[in-house]
């Protein structure tokens, strides 16, 4: 069942086309990555999904119905530009957002307290938002997005500003929500997180979808001509005639083979020069696909 569907959606601001003929569909229980370089049209697409701006052409359906504001009560939205009322106490703030999404004050208070414990910020509930660190505020915003138990969760750069420990906490929470059947859309520049979390992606460039579909299927379209090697000793094998490009991170190398390059021959050369701990033939990473698809202009 598609939770959100965009069909031929376009949006232009004055002379600039932000989104052009974009179509995508996101199912319940799916984690969907919206990717693209800066200014590609990701935030514009999300804003239209949330009814903040209206498309010039095309249609948007939420929960199998044409877009209506009432449906937004079932959506949780974490925008790229975070915003909280600085002088409000954390609990009051969460209750306020919960009530705006249709919860009673009592229910919102109960859920806010439970979520604060889960996200390890229970001690901040009585504090004013302005007294908290950026990471804490990020977690409060994350809770306010989920408080009303939305069926669709839309997050623009959800991991920005989080340290690795909290990023893992957010990742685990998202995976848990996915397993509960929530549809999750997020835009990010962190390709490693997309590879780890997303089932499907849509790569947007200059307002147009240039690559979309199931992540595994997309990656399988590419030849397995990448080698990851972990080694100790001489790196002379990186100059082999089989190698087209290398990234050498002292003991960890990512190698792109020449067309028809022989991986077995390279393995022998490597074993002769160094002690090999890992030698893995892989598909190109999402980051490589991203850069290749948007013509090397991406700044991700």
């Amino acid at each position: 069942m598609p939770v959100v569907e965009l069909a031929g959606v376009s949006k232009a601001y004055e002379n600039k086309v932000a989104v052009s003929d974009l179509s995508l569909s996101i199912e319940a229980g799916q984690m969907f990555g919206l990717l693209g370089p800066n200014g590609a049209g990701k935030t514009s697409s999300i804003r239209m999904m949330m009814g903040i701006t209206i498309p010039d052409a095309g249609s948007i359906r939420l929960f199998e119905k044409p877009f209506e504001r009432q449906s937004l009560e079932r959506v949780g939205y974490l925008p790229e530009e975070r915003g909280l009322y600085k002088k409000m106490k954390v609990l009051d703030q969460l209750v306020f957002f919960g009530c705006l999404h249709g919860l009673s004050a009592e229910e919102a208070r109960k859920r806010a307290t439970a979520w604060a414990k889960r996200m390890e910020i229970a001690e901040t509930l009585d504090k004013k938002t302005q007294e908290l660190s950026k990471g804490m505020q990020q977690k409060i915003q994350f809770i306010s997005t989920l408080l009303h138990d939305p069926g669709l969760i839309v997050m623009d750069e959800p991991f920005s500003g989080l340290d690795p420990v909290n990023a893992v906490l957010v990742e685990q929470t998202l995976l848990e929500l996915k397993s509960q059947g929530k549809a999750i859309v997020f835009s990010t520049h962190r390709m490693d997180q997309v590879e780890k979390l997303c089932d499907s992606i849509c790569l947007i460039d200059k307002g147009q979808a240039v690559l979309s579909g199931n992540l595994r299927e997309i990656k399988s379209r590419y030849e397995r001509n990448r080698v990851i090697v972990e080694f100790e000793g001489s790196s002379a094998f990186l100059n082999s005639g089989e190698v087209a490009e290398t990234k050498n991170y002292s003991g960890h190398a990512e190698i792109k083979l020449k067309p028809r390059g022989d991986a077995q021959k390279l393995l022998h050369e490597a074993a002769a020069a160094a002690t090999i701990y890992r030698f893995e033939l892989v598909e190109p990473s999402l980051e490589e696909i991203f850069i290749q698809t948007v013509g090397g202009k991406a700044d991700a």
Binding site: E14, M50, G51, I52, T53, R69, L72, E73, V75, Y77, P79, E80, E81, R82, G83, L84, Y85, K86, K87, M88, F96, F97, C99, L100, H101, Q141, S144
Partner: protein, 415 residues
């Protein structure tokens, strides 16, 4: 509507709990009382303890003027009469004025046919109050001298010139008369003008400032995902307007509690002649709300186009223009509350609240004028809201630079 009320409640509670509300609730009335008190006391004491000299040809005339000046209860003069005064006496007295040994010299010369000319020499050219008092004393002195010169005894002249005080009465619509005091009415009108002006401007600017702050904190993006821009604006207006009404209610209640018994006793004994009516009590908050909505709606639209509080500050003098106009009209209103200017300003929406309120304090305007001014204000609020909500819808999501006029016009067209 639920979201509008939730947003209004949040705005209301945040402001009511804030320090600014507590300070302004206490300080604003104190400031107004201090301003009016300072005005009253400086006015009463103007020209006080002045050391004057009178130089005249006629000693009885100089003495008559001296007595008149000393009898003036509102001013404290010490007066020295030099009569008959020679040219040298006058020159010596002018030198005393120059050296500030005395504050002023009133020199009188009487011609052979009895016509008198007078000059007043002082170091201050702007002391018109002393000049007015001298003119009054001089003319009464001359009159007394002429009456005694005509054969009347001084006591008879005094009896003829005895002053009569006028008791002012104010008649209401029911024909009931009550004691009234012009000075008290003046202070009441000024106090009411200040009491309505300051909260309207204060809360209007506060609303604009909070929009710029929220735009900078990027809260709008979150809010727009759950509420329409119009709901956000309406919620803010209702919430902040409610804070203003609460503040006015606190002032009225505090005034009734603190001054009520004392004021009541004075009114009963007729010592203090000031009238307040229920109509004023009802119309004051109504005009506050109308004025607040008009100004706040206007400034909300402008605030949405600004990036910083400094940019917003540039527009603030605009708010002051109708207030200056209204203050400038105050003497006209006090002189004739039903003059064409006073009526026009009470119907013109930007000045209506600021003019109608002091007018009410002086003389209750006819019902049609209230109806017309309220109707025109409601129409203006609707128009300004239409304009502002369009700027607001687009402006709150525009970051990075101040909008130019052509951009603003495009925003109005798009939204």
């Amino acid at each position: 509507m639920r979201n509008v009320l939730l947003i209004a409640k949040r705005e209301y509670l945040e402001q009511i709990r804030g320090r600014a509300f507590k300070f302004s609730t206490v300080l604003l009335p104190l400031l107004i009382v201090a301003m009016l008190g300072a005005n009253y006391f400086t006015g009463r004491d103007a020209g006080a303890v002045k050391h004057l000299a009178i130089a005249a040809d006629s000693a009885p005339l100089a003495e008559a003027i001296r007595r008149q000046l000393l009898d003036d209860k509102d001013a404290k003069f010490t007066v020295e009469a030099v009569a008959p005064a020679t040219r040298q006496d006058r020159d010596a007295l002018v030198k005393l004025v120059q050296s500030k040994a005395i504050d002023g010299l009133l020199a009188l010369e009487t011609s052979a046919n009895g016509a008198a000319t007078a000059t007043y020499t002082s170091q201050s050219s702007g002391d018109f109050m002393t000049a007015e008092r001298l003119k009054y004393a001089l003319n009464r002195g001359l009159l007394q001298e002429r009456l005694t010169a005509g054969g009347l005894k001084p006591a008879q002249a005094d009896a003829l010139m005895k002053q009569v005080t006028i008791e002012t009465l104010q008649v209401n619509k029911q024909g009931k008369e009550a004691k009234s005091d012009g000075l008290a009415s003046f202070y009441k009108a000024v106090a009411m003008l200040l009491l309505i002006t300051m909260p309207i401007l204060l809360y209007g600017m506060d609303m604009a400032r909070s929009i710029v702050e929220e735009k900078n904190s990027r809260i709008f993006e979150v809010m727009l995902a759950v509420a329409r821009p119009d709901d956000l604006l309406a919620g803010k207006l209702i919430g902040v307007g409610g804070v203003g009404i609460t503040q006015i209610a606190i002032w009225v209640a505090a005034a009734a509690l603190l001054a009520g018994p004392a004021l009541g006793a004075n009114l009963l004994s007729g010592n203090f002649s000031l009238h307040f009516s229920w109509t004023e009590g009802l119309l004051f908050p109504l005009y506050f709300l109308l004025g607040f909505f008009l100004y706040s709606a206007f400034f909300s639209g402008l605030a949405a186009t600004c990036e910083t509080a400094q940019e917003l500050q540039m527009y603030m003098p605009l708010a002051a223009v109708p207030v200056w106009l209204s203050c400038g009209l105050l003497p006209v209103i006090l002189g004739n509350p039903n003059s064409a200017w006073a009526i026009a300003a009470s119907l013109f929406p930007p000045t209506a609240a600021f003019v109608m309120i002091p007018r009410m304090g002086l003389e209750m305007p006819p019902l049609w004028q209230f109806g017309a001014s309220i109707g025109l204000m409601v129409l203006s609020i609707w128009g300004v809201l239409w304009f502002s909500s369009r700027l607001y819808r687009v402006g709150i999501l525009m970051y990075g630079k101040r909008a130019t006029l052509p951009e603003l016009l495009r925003w109005l067209r798009y939204s």
